[in-house]
Structure formats: structure tokens, C-alpha cells
Symmetry: C2
Subunit: 473 residues, 2 copies
Amino acid sequence: MDREAQDPDWDESADVVVVGAGYAGVAAAIEARRAGASVLVLEKMRAGGGNSIISGGLMAAAGTPLQQRLGVQDSADLMFEDMLRAGLGLNHRGLARTVAERSAGTLQWTIDELGMSYLEKLEHLGGHAVPRTHVMPNYTGMALMKKLLACARGLGVPIRTGAYLERLVRRGDGRVEGVRVRAGYVYPNAESGVPRTIAARRAVILATGGFAEDVAFRVAQDPRLTAGVETTNKRSTTAEGLREALRIGGLPVQLSWIQLGPWTSPDEKGESAAPSFADLAFEHGMIVHPETGRRLVNELADRKTLADALWETGRPCVCLTDARGLAKAAQPVDRALRKGIVRQFDSLGALAGAYGLPAEALAATVREYNRYVVAGCDPAFGKRIPAGAEPLTEPPYFGMRLRPKIHHTMGGVGINEGAQVLDLEARPIPGLYAAGEVTGGVHGACRLGSCAITECLIFGRIAGRQSAAESGA
Amino acid sequence: MDREAQDPDWDESADVVVVGAGYAGVAAAIEARRAGASVLVLEKMRAGGGNSIISGGLMAAAGTPLQQRLGVQDSADLMFEDMLRAGLGLNHRGLARTVAERSAGTLQWTIDELGMSYLEKLEHLGGHAVPRTHVMPNYTGMALMKKLLACARGLGVPIRTGAYLERLVRRGDGRVEGVRVRAGYVYPNAESGVPRTIAARRAVILATGGFAEDVAFRVAQDPRLTAGVETTNKRSTTAEGLREALRIGGLPVQLSWIQLGPWTSPDEKGESAAPSFADLAFEHGMIVHPETGRRLVNELADRKTLADALWETGRPCVCLTDARGLAKAAQPVDRALRKGIVRQFDSLGALAGAYGLPAEALAATVREYNRYVVAGCDPAFGKRIPAGAEPLTEPPYFGMRLRPKIHHTMGGVGINEGAQVLDLEARPIPGLYAAGEVTGGVHGACRLGSCAITECLIFGRIAGRQSAAESGA
């Protein structure tokens, strides 16, 4: 019987209460329901999907049938090693290994259980030893999100929208007993809605996402990221769920590792067409300072070094290449050209004029760089001159403005491999699970591209199954 | 009147309760007492001093009389900029600025009020734009610690040893009312002592230091730093105070930035003689992998890059230089030679033999490096070849084994410029202050050398004065 009838302290109850209706939360709800629990999903926005709905639909998985068909040798071990390298060794080993080992099975689950399909190709993203990034149709993760929501609804799981998490309810060192929300909340009005308490008979699952858009919280961890800094996230990507996990004694893990994408342009919202040209220009071209027209960094340094160097200039920098460079593009940059994010120029001087760069200084920078290319050695910044590199002498030239945007918050609350939230002594907090970007440790210092969907689905599903198996209150 | 007589909930009380008797805690106690508060200092060990007692006695300060006498132009602005550069821009600006601006006055305070003296010279440590590191006699901070303790005792402040912090007492979102300790605690026996509650009528000041030796806590933030990794700290440098601040709702700040010293050797305990030779060999020599005899990193990269590269080899690496390199030493390395930490060899082959390096590979590495020195360009790792660098061809050769050790934990609980501990919304927690290594934000990603004493004294004194001015319970 429903405990709400017995306990006047709560307005309602469910076996499992999931907070957040993105990939992790809805995957959790599906598994908890399938394991026999009554489940309620709470979502603060007017519709489910969260930040997941704007995903680019790229999902890393190792050892899949598609890889076999395309002749790609891969393994969970190899993916695990790539995650650790990207994460600068800070990844919580058990969590990263869980993602790598379950990646192929989870991708298959989206096909078999949700009816997802993938393009008959693989992307080879930076930092991955082999092509293992599976691509959803039209390069968007929206279809996956919709299928997850439809699956949950088909199982009878209510997705309660307009429900803003105010409190995780825990007495002392005891079990997490439920939540207090503002029901009827209308984003972003903090005063909207009315308090409502919901008991979780077995467990609460926190799947509230990252905190890229939470200025106060992110500034404490990285004071450079003040208001006005753009992100690639939805505006609703804030920290209230994470704060609650910490307030009741959750272990903070690696909160100060906030990923800035160096490949983003101020000339488009979020990130869409810019990254592929940026990758090309970093390899077969250069980045120059907008005032001096000089290079400022090894363009092939890691993401963090690049983003920090771009950041320090305080304004958009310019990356550029020439016609021979453009011919080396792995992906077409037509869209970026059409949208005017990447611009084409007949001469370096025209490029300089368009971006307000000092023309003579830019010409000198390019001449100097071309000497390094010929010599195969860059004494200025130690850039590894790529095989097949050619001097930048062949018009037309192509340029794009760059400005780092906040992309992903690696840190969060600590969990174990069973998705149980850990306390400050690294012991599980009874009755509380978490999955997805609200957790920390999976990615260490830096998330490898296309591993986020994989992580959300894997730990969401674990949290759902485990929470349903709790003996509860 | 003492509230303890009125309130049976507490075993005893004081206006201000300071937890930790290192630089920060005792400086706080002195100022609180001078401001008229009754003060009790709690220290878990058998004697005061904490980790501060093994300090190298180096104190950065900008704009001091000694700098003027020695003709060094410096300013608080310059020191602030250096702190920000070292901290990769992650420093909480207001905190770092407070340290820079009060550094000279605080140094003078140690002279005028404590009777400290300093050598008539300045060290120019890496990352500082000018020489501003003031040196205590015999390169030890023990005298300063003893003078602080004597000053506190002279003011009638009891230093209660064997008092282990178990709990900060806070009800809900209210004031921190006091502490629960284990009185009669004998380190490291967790079962020793008996519970005792102490009310803080005005405030508690947390000055419990860093967590370098707390394996469970540090591993959550940096999973590489498992048990057995050496530190330059005392074994008692653990996280119980920080955990308590977080448990009652304190803001975690940059916990995952843990400083590994790349200049440490496994052939001495902690760090003493190794760093000065390491600095020399990094500039005028090289670091080689113990198995391959090959270089592994730009030896002039930042501390973190260096330490990470050394770390990844999983074993001690070897740094080396030759006779001409040694002649460029800013500080004598006699002591390191005498102690056998640095060893001298007639030939490269002898050096290779002593350290188990492959002799031919080492010789090839040195030949290759010498070509880079002559060319003024290092295509392998992008090292900036220093002005005046000469090829390594002049015996004797000098070598030292390197292995990173944990040195400092930059992160901690968040504070504002008034040393008030912040909660998860960045609002002050009533009745709670903190100072020193238990706090986060002053140093950002990386603490600049010799700024720790400065920080401890400055925020300790602020915490003492502010807490004494609290209206309290």
C-alpha cells in the first residue's frame, strides 16, 4: 500500500523518486520500473529532456558490431586507457572502467529496447585511439531522448514537470527519505510553485545534470567564469541538485575541473559548425592574438592549455589556414562557411582587415611559422609540425574567430560503481543514488568527447536497478 | 560570566575556540585575545606547531624595508599578479589580493611584535617576478612557530593539546555553536580520549591545515595519490577539520588541486637538499626515464606538467647536468652532495651504471640534446633553451633521482576576505571562521613558493580579530 496514506508528513510517495528527466534520469526510471518499483520522475522544466535534448548525438562505445563491420579493432581496455589519458589520470578508475566495459552493451540496448538506429559510419574524435564514436541520425541526440521518454511513459512512469528540487530530506546521518519540491514551478521564477513533499520508499536518484550555467557555483571553482561567459549548455543547467547532495553530506569530487571548449566561436550560439574548422586550423594553420597578430600557444596543446591561452587574451582570437590546409579537412566546412562563421579571403591582408588584425605583423607571423613548417620544428611554442604540413602560402585564406565556452562540468558528487552517492568518509549514503553530469570522477580532469551519453545511460540504468532493489523504509 | 555555568549542554566554553595550533591558529588566537576575547586553542597532537613546525622558514612579502635596502623594486600588485599566474588564474581574486597587500605589514608584525629576525638577503624563487622571499635564520620556520606559541601563552591563551576535533556543532542553518572533541586523545589512536563539548560564545576558528596525509580524502580528489605516496608533510596532516566544515554545509573550493613537488628525491625524507639541484638540472640539464634513458618532458614546463610526467613513469627518474651546468648553480649543492642525494661521476657511462640506465641510450639522448642546445631549439619537447646554455660534455657529471611527493593541498573550504567560512550559496556561516591550508582559493591551481606562511598569518590574524568582534550567543 502507498505509504502516503499512513504518513501524514508527506504529500505523496513512490518507491523510487528520480530528480531530472535527461538521459540519466529517464534511463534510471525505466530500469527501476522494469524491476518492479513504482517510480516518479521530477523535472523542473515544462518538458522532459533537460540538457540532453541538445546533445550532438555522438556515443562512444568499444567493441560494437558496427566497429566489426568497419574493421575497427577496439576493446574496453583501450577505451578505458583513452578516458584516463584525457582525464589526466584523475578519473576514478572503477567508474571509468564501468563506462568502458558496458559501453557496447548499452549501445545495443538503445537499439534493441528503444529502437534507436545509427549511421553506418564512425567518427574518430580526438583523444580516442580508434574510431568508436557512433553517430545518431542528423547528428542529434534528440531522438534518443524522445525514445527514452516514450519508453518511460509506456511503462506508466509519470514525468512530473514544473517540479523544482528544494531539499533532499535526510535526518542526521540516516537514510535519504524523500524530497521537497516546488510544485508548479515556472522556470526561471524562483518564487513560483508551492512546496510539496514526496517520500521515496526505496531511494532517491539524483540526475540533475551539470552546473555550467550556475554562475555563483562555477565561480567558486573557477573564478574566471563570471557572468556573461557563454556556455554550450541550456540556461537551466544549474547546481541546485548538486548543492543538495553536498549539503546533506555528499562527497565533493573534482568540482574545479570545468571544461572550456577551445573550438567554439562567438559567431554562433553554443557549438555547432565551429569545432570542425577549429580542429583543422589548429593542425594545419595557426591561432593569432587579435591585437598583436602573433601566435600565442602551441595550437596542438591539450584542450585545457589551449582554452586557457585563448581565455587569457580577454577577447576573441582568430584561427586561420589556407587553401591547401582546407583541402586536408576530414569533415566538410561548407556549413560553417555558409553561416559566415568561417570566412574566405583572397589574401592575408584581406583577412587581417576583416578581423582588425595588424596586417604587417600577421604577415610576419605567417612567414615565421612557414619557416618552422619547412624546418619541421617550432622553437616558439614547441608545436609538433604535422606530417604533410605545408607552408601557408596558397590563397584563398580562411579565418574564424575563437572564444572558449563552458562545455562540461567534470566534477560533482562522488558515487561508487553501484551509483550510490558517497559521504565525506566515502561510505554510501543510504537511499541516495546519482548518475550523469551531477556526479564526479568518471572523466577526471577532462571528459573525452562522446563519452557523456554513454556515461549517463550506464549509471542511470545501474541507479535504477539498484534503487529498485533497496529494502527501503 | 562564563556561559558554561548557565548551560548544562556544554562541558566548558570560551568566547573564541581555535582548532589547530599552527601558524594560522596561533596567530588567530593572539589577535582574538588582544581584542578582548577569552580564547581556547585546541590541538590534537601532544604539542603545538602542527605542520608549520617543519616549515622551511621562507616568507614572501612585497614592498618591504629589506627589499628597499637590497634595491628590489616590488609591489603588492606585482605579487598579486605572480600568485595569479602560478595559480593558473583560478585564485579567488579577493583572497590573493589580501595576501599580497598585507604581506609587508605582516612580515613587519613578526619583527615588531614577535621579535623575529630575517637574514640580510632575499631568495628569488621560481614564479616570482623579483626576489621577495624573506629567509628566517637557518632556513627553518620553527623559531617563528615557537615565538607565536610563546606570545599566545604570554597573553594567557591556553593551548589544549591532545584534543581531537570530532564535530563542529551547528543546528540546521544556524550558528556554529561550538565543538565536540576527544579530550586526552593520543595520536594516532582514534579510540583514545573521551568526548568533551566546548561552546564558542562568539565563534569557532578552523585552522586545521591541509590534507596531504589523508589518503581516503586525497584519493577522492586525485586517485593517483594512493597509500604509500610520500609527502613533504607531517603524518598528522589529515582532513578531519575540513570534513567537518563541509559536513555542516561549507563550500568546497578547488579540492582536486593537490600540489606534487617535481623537485623531490626518494633519497631523502620530505624535501630538504634535493630541490635546489633539481631546479638547476631542469634548466641546465635534463630528466631521463630510468628504463629508456630518454627524455620524457620539457624540463622547464610548469610544476604540474613536470610532476605528472615524472609520476607517469611509475618509478624514480634521473635528472643530471655536467660541470659547466653545476657552475651555474644559484645556490650551493654541497649539502646534497654530502648527503649522497646528488652524486658525482667521472663519465656519463659511470652515471648510467650507478642509476641502472641503458648507457648507450643515455649517451645518444645527451648527444641529441646537445644538438638542440647548439641549435637553440628543442623539437622533441619544445623546451626553451636557456640563455648561456652549453652542451653537456664537461665531466664530472652530476645526477639525482627524482620522485614527486605531495607538498600542498591548495583546495579547502571557501572563505571570504573576512575569513568567514562560506556555505554552498557562498553566504557566510554564522560563527565560523577559517584560515590557512584548510581553506581554498587563495592559491588557485598552484601555490607559489613561500606564500604559505604569509597566508596563514594574514588570514589567521583576520579571523582572530573578526571573531572577537562577533556579537555571539
